[in-house]
């Protein structure tokens, strides 16, 4: 049909019209439009939680839209499952790879294909694709021995073997080194030259400027704008992504703060593991009643900072100070006894144990501070009572203290975890992603609880990638980039532009940023 159209070249490869997807409590995609033309690299831009992943899952047939139309080469289609998407010519490279570590590259690719192809033929085909796109990968290597960049190439090759007309890349650079980013960009440009469209999901502005000619921007599940990144500045795109009206959110002025309660002083820690981030010279101070926000894109050292503050990883003694006493050498239990509580980002398996009852999950952190333990014995009556009080005070939807943490929805478990820490009345608390994946009502309750806690004189540090949340909650703000913190900005004085640029790493720690920028320029 499309070939009979007058403007053949103008028929979009993929078009979404008014696509809407609702989850319980959240409108993930609200009437979203998207047009991807043949042979274009199209950026899908938005903050965490803006609805990017939901949208591409519908394109790849993992989710079905509640309403709206998907058009492929101009014809409306229903994409029932990923296999149907692949049959249409849609390939996808996920952020997290699904590879068998003990098998070879060739075996992994063979397992991921819908059709059975003889090994010899498949190997020849793989070598052809590798050669065509200038990708370096040995089909005989065992996956365990490969770097993350090489593993990603397996997924790319797997997608390219199907000769896709549209390749979806979900935050492909989040795990890559700058050099690997350069190589990836070269491959993507070659693909584009051969007429393949690419939908490139990211929130890294500099990458999008370097790579994409069109960008669709989502915010809060809604379509905001389609623009040409080369005609925009990082500043203006950050504004579209974050929303310029946010400046209107005001913090209650005239709040007074007490003395400094919680400090980090020149905290540095070496990186752990291949993808850890080293903490560099981190200093901050939080006064009684103050909420300090740490903004930044995921993977810039936020988890490492959190572990150093909670005591899970030991730090130099005087680099972390609570109420004028050094506590860097103390473990989590001793820090809690002194009044420092913490909530890590991950709910299941870190902040809570899925198979344990809420009573035992309460005892996880509150057992000493709330006096459940005497002589090594846990008073289960008290543990149950405390869990019940948290459930009541934070309206956690659970049958009772005997429910397991794993049976609660994400939002309810988060309310329980936040309540468990807040009701210990800490002197200071460090919280990571307090409302990640939590519906609006629960988010509001959690934020209110934090503000109230600050009102009672607690010093609070909130790490979040949700800038709206930080601007709403915090009195002051720092941005974390590549393991260091920016200067402290007062909320209200900081401009969105400045924050957005700091998050993208355009400014901030110079050395590492230069490295990244250079790698990108080489990729041109």
């Amino acid at each position: 049909m499309a070939s009979l159209d007058e403007a053949v070249g103008e028929t979009p490869r993929l078009e979404l019209r008014g696509v809407t997807k609702r989850f319980p409590g959240v409108l993930a995609n609200d009437n979203v439009n998207l047009i991807v033309r043949p042979g274009e690299i199209h950026a899908l831009l938005g903050e965490n939680g803006a609805g990017k992943s939901t949208l591409v899952k519908m394109i790849y047939g993992i989710l079905a839209p509640d309403s709206g139309d998907i058009l492929w080469d101009g014809a409306p289609v229903r994409i029932a499952n990923p296999r149907a998407a692949r049959r249409l010519g849609i390939g996808m490279v996920f952020q997290h790879f699904s590879l068998f570590e003990a098998l070879t590259v060739l075996e992994n690719i063979a397992l991921g294909l819908d059709a059975k192809i003889p090994q010899k033929k498949l190997e020849a085909e793989i070598l052809r694709v590798l050669d065509l796109y200038g990708l370096k990968l040995d089909p005989k290597r065992i996956v365990t021995t490969l770097s993350v960049g090489e593993r990603q190439r397996i997924e790319i090759v797997r997608a390219l073997l199907l000769n896709p007309k549209l390749l979806i890349m979900d935050e492909p650079t989040s795990v890559l080194t700058p050099q690997e980013v350069g190589q990836l960009f070269e491959t993507l440009r070659k693909l584009k030259a051969q007429g393949c469209s690419i939908l490139y999901i990211s929130h890294k502005l500099h990458e999008i400027v370097a790579l994409c000619e069109t960008a669709t921007i989502l915010r809060g599940g809604k379509f905001v704008a389609e623009c040409n990144p080369r005609e925009e500045t990082s500043k203006s795109m950050a504004e579209l992504m974050i929303g310029s009206n946010l400046k209107e959110i005001a913090r209650g002025a005239g709040r007074t703060f007490g003395p400094i309660k919680f400090e980090a002083m020149r905290l540095s820690l070496p990186k752990r593991g291949d993808f850890g981030v080293a903490l560099k010279d981190i200093s901050f101070s939080v006064r009684a009643g103050e909420i300090l926000g740490v903004a930044g894109v995921a993977g810039n050292g936020q988890n490492e900072l959190m572990e150093a503050l909670s005591g899970e990883v030991a730090a130099p003694d005087d680099s972390i100070v609570l109420e004028a006493k050094p506590i860097g050498h103390l473990g989590p239990t001793a820090r809690r006894a002194r009044g420092l509580c913490a909530v890590p980002e991950e709910r299941n398996g870190h902040a809570a144990v899925a198979d344990f009852t809420l009573a035992l999950n309460g005892a996880l952190t509150a057992r000493r501070r709330m006096g459940f333990v005497s002589g090594g014995l846990i008073n289960m009556g008290r543990a149950k009572g405390y869990a019940s009080r948290v459930i009541g005070a934070y309206s956690v939807k659970a049958l009772g203290h005997q429910s397991t943490a794993g049976s609660l929805s994400g939002g309810n478990l988060q309310k329980f975890i936040m309540g468990r820490e807040i009701m210990q009345e800490p002197a200071a608390i460090a919280v990571s992603q307090p409302t990640w994946g939590v519906d609006a009502g629960a988010s509001a309750a959690i934020r209110q609880a934090l503000v109230d806690l600050a009102g009672r004189g607690c010093a609070i540090l909130v790490i979040s990638q949700d800038l709206d949340e930080l601007l709403e909650l915090c009195d002051s703000l720092v941005v974390m980039n590549l393991g260091s913190l920016s200067r402290v900005m007062k909320v209200g004085e900081a401009t969105i532009e400045e924050i957005g640029l700091l998050m993208g790493g355009v400014h901030g720690d110079p050395e590492a940023t230069v490295e990244m920028t250079e790698a990108l320029q080489h990729a041109h």
């Binding site: 473990g331 902040a351 899925a354």
Partner: protein
């Protein structure tokens, strides 16, 4: 029709309690079929293995004597299994426990007093724990897999036993047999107590089952062990160090195996010889899982496995099955209990006309 396994919101406690019974029942059914197919009287073999030891009261002392070490060792192993620290070397720690006791016996052979047996027991527990200590150290220091190191130490322990009973500890009056001197009456425990045909080890095992229950369910230590096993990151966050759990669970399970070994030596054999190794340390792994990692379940499972040992011997003489029969039945029990675990986390759903529904969904 479609049969589907659906994930449960909460693990089923009912299934947790019922699956060991399924496992034993399935073992009996499949075992009967296999042995029938092999040309034996299958159903009769199963009856001899599982029912004769229960129905014939003269077999009870034998069952009790085997249940005691199985329960003691399994209790210790369970603590490790809760923390996902897999001690496969209890057999070696059991041997060392017996050797510890025998060492004390050698030194005290001309002495008298009721303190001697307690000293032997203490030495046995210490020796068992010491045999597990390198496993913990290697795991914490170098990340050595405890399954391998603990298992390999079993073979070292057997060589230590061989060396001692054929060399320095050999009974000078033993006509050159590879065995230690018999323990003196002051070094022995009676094989029955209070006029009942049960050895003291069984009472100790049941009492310790209650202690372990309390420790696992109600102490800060027990909570820590369980969190380390369930969610290592949460354990760190809750202030528990995984390395502490490795040390404590291995030392305790080593001491428990050592206790079983020294009690076996003082109560049953009364000396050590090359035939002392019994395989209790390995069978106790089955007891731990069949007992659902719960001390009370372990007490029951220990009795069931002891029955299968005794019954296996009965069936050898009456139905003429091979000596490996008891082992085959024990292995089947472990296999079925692990396989039936799926029912704890999932429920079976049978959808009639499911094909149509599935097509409608797609």
């Amino acid at each position: 029709m479609r049969i589907r396994l659906e994930k449960r919101r909460e693990n089923s406690r009912l299934m947790l309690a019922l699956t060991p019974i399924f496992a034993v029942a399935l073992t009996m059914i499949v075992g009967a079929i296999i042995f029938q197919a092999l040309g034996y009287e299958g159903p009769r073999a199963v009856a001899e293995i599982f029912f004769t030891p229960v129905l014939a009261s003269y077999k009870w002392p034998d069952v009790a004597a085997k249940a005691a070490p199985l329960i003691l060792i399994a209790l210790g192993l369970t603590l490790g299994n809760q923390a996902k620290v897999w001690n496969i070397g209890a057999e070696g720690q059991y041997l060392l426990g017996a050797l510890g006791g025998a060492g004390v016996a050698l030194v005290t052979k001309d002495m008298h007093g009721i303190w001697i047996v307690p000293l032997m027991i203490a030495a046995g527990m210490a020796a068992g724990a010491a045999w597990a200590a390198p496993v913990a150290w290697l795991k914490n220091r170098y990340g050595v897999n405890e399954i391998l190191s603990s298992l390999m130490l079993v073979y070292v322990a057997q060589q230590v036993l061989n060396y001692l009973v054929t060399g320095p500890w050999k009974d000078p009056n033993g006509q050159n047999f590879p065995q230690t001197a018999p323990f003196t009456p002051d070094q022995r425990l009676p094989a029955d107590l209070f006029g009942l045909p049960f050895p003291p080890g069984l009472y100790i095992a049941f009492a310790l089952a209650l202690v372990f229950w309390l420790v696992m369910a109600r102490t800060e230590f027990g909570l820590g062990v369980r969190i380390v096993g369930e969610a290592p990151k949460a354990a760190r966050y809750a202030g528990y160090r995984a390395s502490d759990a490795v040390w404590s669970t291995l030392l305790i399970s080593g001491a428990m195996a050592g206790l079983a070994g020294v009690l076996e030596a003082t109560t049953q054999s009364g000396q050590l010889n090359l035939g002392f190794p019994s395989g209790y340390g390995f069978t106790a792994i089955i007891v731990s899982f069949l007992g659902r990692l719960h001390p009370i379940g372990i007490a029951l499972a220990g009795v069931v496995l002891a029955i299968s040992y005794v019954g296996g011997q009965v069936a050898q003489t009456t139905v003429h099955v091979p000596s490996a029969t008891a082992g085959i039945f024990q292995a089947m029990m472990l296999f079925f209990i692990l396989a039936s675990d799926v029912l704890v986390r999932r429920r079976l759903r049978i959808e009639w006309g499911g094909a149509k529904a599935a097509a409608a969904r797609a």
